[in-house]
Subunit: 412 residues, 4 copies
C-alpha cells in the first residue's frame, strides 16, 4: 500500500512520468510552525546531481504545501504536498529498445506481472523519484521530534563495496563493540556528514578510498552497492508497540521499503550473532542526571534513571526503546542500470542484448542518506505519538500501588 | 500492536503467567478442511525440550480451536485458538532477586518504562511463549498456500556463532552467488532439516561443529547467537504491495518482530552490496514450461514465462515476487539469560550482581526455525490474498490494448 | 471484519454452536484495576430470559479473563476474554426442516451466498450470541471512561411498535426540541431504566402500554420492533476525527453493526430535518463553572467555557463533541423468527412453508439496551484515546500566538 | 481520519482557503480506461450555483489527475487528484465579526476545542468544499462498478421540511411497504432526477411544493433540512463484512461522515420498526433468470437463484447484500448559516448578536445528491473488492462436499 504509519500517516502518489509526485500527511500535531522552508533542505539533499559521482540530471524538486497550514502554522488537518515532474511523457513512444526488454534486476517485469499494464517508465512506482513524498513527510516529522524531544537523526555511509568505515574484525565482528564506533554514534551530525560529499562517509581516509572505488566502477560502466548507518539520539524510552510492531520491526519495514535495499541490522546486527551473551548483554548502570531542558531536551521531559554500560542492543530491548541511542544499518545493492551490455530475454521471450544509454549513477548509497533519515523519522514519530497517547491515557487513572506514575520516569 | 496482516489478520494475546495464550485469525478463506491436526505439528516443532541443547522444560502446548470451523471445514469467520499455560502465577511472590533487577538485554526494564506496570514475568509479552499464537496462525496460512499453489516454506539454521553453512569468501561475499547454495534453496525440505536435530543445519559436518560449539557455551554458562535462512518455493509472481509494503519490507517487519532478532537480509543481502552490478544483475531467460498441476501447483495456476538465470534478487524485484524462489536470512542474538554472574544495576539504581538460577537455553536458533516459517507464511498469505483480489477485480474489466489479461501470465 | 476501533481495538470470535465466544481487547490503558467483576454485570444485563417478554432460554455467560491483567491490574497488553457456549453442535443433524429453508429476513441465505459454506447455525456470526464479545469489551471501556472523565452512558427503550416515550408532534417533530426529553437526557441512569424491566422504558405509563403490546405480538406468534435512545454525559469536547471519522459517523457505524438494526439518528435526527434553521441552531452561552472533580469529573479535567442553550446537535458539531450530552436513537426491526407459518422458497428453489418451533423473543429492543451502551463505549474510548494523544503531542510544542494551550479549555 | 476504505482507499486533503483540495485513491484496479472526463460530470453536479435555490457563488472545480494513469489507462498505482481553490486567504484579516463569534451549530467552536488553532475558515475541514475529494474518488469507483457489474447508483430528494415524496401513513409507516416506492427504486435514473432541478425530487407535484417551500425559507432568511434516498441496483449478493463491517454499518458510517447529516435508515428504516414481523419478513422466491450480460450485467457474473418477494430488508440481510436493490435514506439538517440575526456568545464568552452577510443556501439537500451517490460508490467498491478477493481465494481450494463452488451462485 501507499500509506505508512498509524498515527502520523503518510500517503504518497506519483510515477516518474506523470504530472507530479507528492503526499498527504495526516495526523501532524496542530499548532506547529511549518513552511516549505522546513521541508526543502532534505528535498535538496536527496536530489541527484550533487557531485561528480551521483547522476548529473538536474532535478528541481520545489515542494509546495497545498493544505493543512495557515499563516505558517499547522492546523492538525491533512497536509497535502506536491512536487512537479519535469519529465512527463506526453505520448507513447512505442517500441524503443527499452520497451522490448524488462531491465534485469529492475521492477519492469514484476510490475507487469503484478498489474498487467506496462507503464512507460517501466517499474512505475519503483523509481527513486517515488521517495520524494517520503522525504517531504519525513522533514515534517523531524521538525516535531526536534522541537518536542530534541531528537536528532543522522545517517552516513558506512561502506561502499568492500570499503568499510568500521570493517569487521575477529575482535569486533560488529562495530557495536568498538568504542570508536560508539563515540561516532554519540557525536555525528549532518553538517559533518555533508562535509564529506560526495560520499557522505565521515572519515577522510575511508571517504577518499570510497570515492576512488566508485570512480572505478563508473569508468567500467558498472555499479556497486554499500551500506548506510543511521543514528537516532535523545529518543525517549518506551517507544515501540510489541509484539508485532516492535520498534526494530517497524524500522526494518521502513528501511526495506526504500528502493534497492537488501538488508537491515539493528544494534550489533549480524555481527552480534557471533558475540557471546556474556559480552553482548548490556548491563544496566545509573544514568547520569541530565537537567530537563539541557542537551536539546524539552523542559518537561524526564530521562530514564537507568541506562546501559554498552549498547549492543542499539537502544532497543524487547522491541521498546530504552533511551540509549538507536542505531541501525541498511544495505543497498549495486544499481541495476549499467552501461555495460547485458545478455537477457525480451518480453516476448527472445534472447537479446540490452545496453543502457546515457550516464547512470554507479552508486546510490550517498544519496540514500536523507531517505534513510526520513523513513527513520516517520517510524519514530509514529511510535512517539502512540506512546504519548498511552501515557496521556494512564495519567488520568487513579494511582495504584505497584504502578509507576507517568510523570516520573518515562516520556511525556 | 498485536495484529499482523491486512487480509489474513492475526491477533494474539497472552503472557507467560496468565491463564492461556492464543490468537484470532480473521480472513481465512472459507471452505478449507481444517482441524487441530493441521496445526499441532508446527506447535510441537517450536516446543522447547526437543534435545539436549534446547531448554529441558517440557511444555505441552495442545491447541484448541474455539470457533470458525464446523465439522472440520472453515466457515470464513474468525478462528479463535487457545493454548493453556501451565505456569500461571497465582500470587505475587514479592521481592525475589529476579524482581529487584531488570535483567540485562531483556525486556524487563523497557516494559516497565513503557507500561508503568511490572508484570511478574518481567517483560510481559516479550517471552518466547508469545510466539505460540503466531505459529498456530502460520500453520493455517501454510495449509492454504500449499493447497492453492503448492507453496513450500522451509527454514534451516545457516550459522551459529562463527560456524557457517556457507561462510562468506572473497569469491562469494554472499552465498547467493554460490551454486551449491542455490541448489539447496531448490531442494531443502523440513524432513531433511529435522533429521539434523538438535541444530537443524542440513549439513552433517557443519551440524556437528555447531552442536559442539553450543555445548561449549552451555558448559561455560554462556550463550551464542546465529542465523536462520528461510526458503519459499512455488510462490506466484506479483506478490508484494509497493511502495511501502514491498514484499521484502513486510518480510523484514515480520522477522524483526520475532523475539531476539537482530537483522534481516533478502537474497544476496549485505554480502550482495559488495558484488558489482554486472554480476549482481539477474538476467532474464525463458522459463522452462511447467504443466499446470505438476510440481505441486494448482491446475489453474499458470507460471511466469520468464525467469532469471541467477537469483541474487532472492525472488523479489521492485518489492514484488518474480516467481523464483524467495529466500532470506534472519539473525538472532545470544540469549540474554545466562548462568554467569553479571554486574548490573537494580531498579532502585543500586549496583549489584545478578545470577540466573536453573538451566537456560544457550542458543535459540534451532527452535526459531518453525517461528520463522510461520511468520513467512503469514506474510505470503497476506500478499497472496491482496494480489488475488487485484486480479479478480481486473478480470471483470473490458479487455484493452496494452493490458495483459489476468489468466495468461500471472497468478490467479 | 471482526475488529472494531483504531486505538482501543476489539476483535471478536465465535458462532452460536462452536466451543466458545470471546474477544481480544488491544490498547487498554495499563495500570487500571480490572477483574471479571467489572465485566459480568453488563454480560448479565444482556442475557436473555430476564423476564416473561424476553426469550426463556437460560444462558450462563460467565466471562473468564485469559490475559492482559495480573493481580487485578491491566498490563497494557492484549486482554483475552472467553465465554463458553453450551449449545455446541457435535455433529451435523442433516436435513431438518430448518436446514432446507433459508429463514426469511435472517442471514442464512446471505451467509451462504457470501461464504459458500452452510453453518449449522445458519447465519454463522449473525446471531445475538456474537454480541457477547462486544459487551465484554464495552464494559472495560466504560470503566476507563468513568474513572478518567466521569463519563456516564445510559440507554433506554424509546419506542416499541407505535408506542413512543416521546411521540413526534407538529410542535416537536423531534424529541430534541422538547424540554422534558432534554431533562431526561440530563438525569436518566441505569438503575432507573432497569426498574422498568421487562421493557426498560423509563416511564410507568408508556412502559405498561409497551409491555401489553409485546404480549399481544407474542400471543399472535408475531414480532415487533422499536427504538433505543442512548445518552452519553460528561464527555469532553474535542472527540471525533473528521472528515471521515466524525463522531456521529463512527457511532452510526457501531450501531448499525448490531444485529437487527435499521436506522440511526444523532441529536434531533430525522425529525430535525423538519425544523427551521432559526430554531434548530444551538446558540452559544457561557457554561456554568463546574469545579474540576465535581460532578464525577476527574480533578485535572477542565470543562469547556461555552455551552449551547439548546441541544439539537446532540452534543456533536462538525463531527466533534462540544461537551454537551451526546444522544442518539437506534431502530431495531421486528425479530425475523416468528411462530407463524411463512410461505417461502427452499434452498433448492422449491416453494414451501416454514414454521419455527419453540418459543421466540417477540421483541429484542429491551435486551438491546446494554449492547447499545457497549458499542457507544467502544466508540467513545476510541475517540478519547485519539484526542488524548493529539493533546499530548501538542503539549510539548513551543507556545505560539493564536494557538490555544491544551491545558486551558480542552480535555487532557 | 482522512482515509476511507480498506481496499479502495481514499485519502482527502484541503480546507476552504488553502491552495487546493484533492485526494489520493489507492487500490483502483489496473487496466481501466480513465480520464478527467469520467470524473468531471459528478464534480459539476455537486457544484453550487446550479439554480435559483442553491447558492449563487460560482465555483469552477476542474479536476486534474496527477498520477496513476498513463495514456488514459489506470496503472494500479495511487491516483492523485487536485482541484484548485479560488478563495485562498493570503493574509489574516484579523478581528472581523465572523472571527469573534463561533457560528451556532457550525464547527467553528468544536474545531478550536479539538485542535487549539483557529483556522480563518472557521471549521477547517467541515466546509462543503471538503467533499470535492470524495466526489472525485466516487466517480472512479462508479466507473469500475458499472463496467464490472452494471451497478447503478441513483440518489434523489425524498423530503424537504415536511414535504415528502412518500409521506408516512398508518398503512405505510415506511415507504418500503409501498409498491409505488418499490417501482421507483427499480427504475429511477440520474437523468430523470436532474430533470427535476433545482430540487431533484422525481415527482412533478412534490417537486413544485418543495421548490415553493425552499423559496419561503429563503425569503425569511431562514433554512430548512430534508432527506435524500439512494438506490443501488445490480449489486451482487455477498457484499458486506460482518460482524463489525456489515454493509449497512459502512453505509451508515459513510453517510454520517457527510457534513450536515443527522440520520440514516436502511430499507424499511425507522418506519419498519412499527411493522409486524409477519409483514416485515421478506419471503424468498425463485429469482427470474437473467441471462448473464443482459440488464447491464457483466457476461461472467451469475445472479443469485433466489430473491425476495418484498424488500423491507433494503437488499441487505445479516449485514450482507442479497442481490435485491439496496436503498437507504439520509437526513440533512437545516443549514446553520442563516441571514437572520442570532443571539449567541462570542469566543470571549460575551453575549452578542451574529448576522451572516451575503446570500446563503437555504437548503443543501438537492446538492447533496451526488455526494450521497459518491459515498455509496466508495462503500460498495470496497465491499466488492473484499468479496472478489474472498471468492478468488476460495476458487483455488479443492472442492468439498457441502461447500458451494464460487462460480455457480455468487458474484465472481
Amino acid at each position: 500500500m501507499s500509506t505508512f504509519g498509524n498515527h502520523f500517516r503518510v500517503t504518497t502518489y506519483g510515477e516518474s512520468h506523470c504530472l507530479s509526485v507528492g503526499c498527504i500527511v495526516d495526523g501532524c500535531p496542530p499548532g506547529m510552525k511549518l513552511t516549505e522552508d522546513d521541508i526543502q533542505p532534505q528535498m535538496t539533499r536527496r536530489r541527484p546531481g550533487q557531485s561528480a559521482i551521483t547522476t548529473p540530471r538536474n532535478e528541481k524538486d520545489r515542494v509546495e504545501i497545498q493544505s493543512g497550514t495557515e499563516f505558517g502554522i499547522t492546523l492538525g488537518t491533512p497536509i497535502g504536498m506536491r512536487v512537479m515532474n519535469e519529465n512527463q511523457r506526453k505520448q507513447d513512444y512505442g517500441n524503443k529498445t527499452m520497451d522490448l526488454y524488462p531491465r534485469p534486476s529492475h521492477a519492469d517485469w514484476t510490475y507487469l506481472e503484478k498489474y498487467g499494464v506496462k507503464a512507460s517508465s517501466g517499474g512505475g512506482r519503483s523509481s527513486a523519484r517515488e521517495t520524494i513524498g517520503r522525504v517531504a513527510a519525513g522533514a515534517i516529522a523531524e521538525k516535531y521530534l526536534r522541537q518536542a524531544y530534541g531528537i536528532e537523526i543522522v545517517a552516513f555511509v558506512a561502506s561502499i563495496g568492500n570499503e568499510y568505515l568500521f570493517p569487521p574484525t575477529p575482535t569486533h565482528p560488529t562495530a557495536a563493540t568498538n568504542p570508536e564506533f560508539l563515540k561516532l554514534v554519540e557525536t555525528i551530525d549532518r553538517t559533518t556528514v555533508d562535509s564529506f560529499l560526495p560520499v557522505r562517509c565521515p572519515n577522510q581516509e575511508t571517504s577518499e578510498r570510497m570515492e576512488k572505488l566508485v570512480a572505478e566502477f563508473r569508468d567500467r560502466e558498472d555499479s556497486i552497492g554499500g551500506t548506510v548507518t543511521c543514528v537516532i539520539r535523545n529518543c525517549p524510552s518506551g517507544l515501540g508497540e510489541p509484539c508485532f510492531d516492535k520498534l526494530e520491526a517497524t524500522l526494518a519495514h521502513a528501511m526495506l521499503s526504500i528502493p534497492a535495499t537488501k538488508g537491515f541490522e539493528i544494534g550489533s546486527g549480524f555481527g552480534g550473532c557471533q558475540v557471546p551473551g556474556s559480552i553482548h548483554n548490556d548491563a544496566f548502570i545509573k544514568a547520569p542526571a541530565i537537567p530537563p531542558g539541557q542537551n536539546g531536551l524539552h523542559p518537561s521531559v524526564a530521562r530514564p534513571r537507568l541506562t546501559t554500560k554498552t549498547n549492543n542492543s542499539g537502544g532497543i530491548q524487547g522491541g521498546i526503546s530504552n533511551g540509549a541511542p538507536i542505531y541501525f544499518t541498511v544495505g543497498f545493492k549495486p544499481p541495476a542500470t549499467i552501461g555495460q551490455a547485458q545478455s537477457t530475454a525480451a518480453y516476448d521471450e527472445a534472447d537479446g542484448v540490452l545496453e543502457a544509454k546515457g550516464r547512470h549513477d554507479p552508486c546510490v548509497v550517498p544519496r540514500a542518506v536523507p531517505i534513510v533519515e526520513s523513513m527513520a523519522a516517520l517510524v519514530i514519530i509514529d511510535a512517539v505519538l502512540a506512546q504519548q497517547g498511552r501515557n496521556a491515557a494512564r495519567r488520568l487513572l487513579p494511582a495504584l500501588e505497584g504502578v509507576v506514575a507517568v510523570d516520573t520516569t518515562t516520556m511525556q
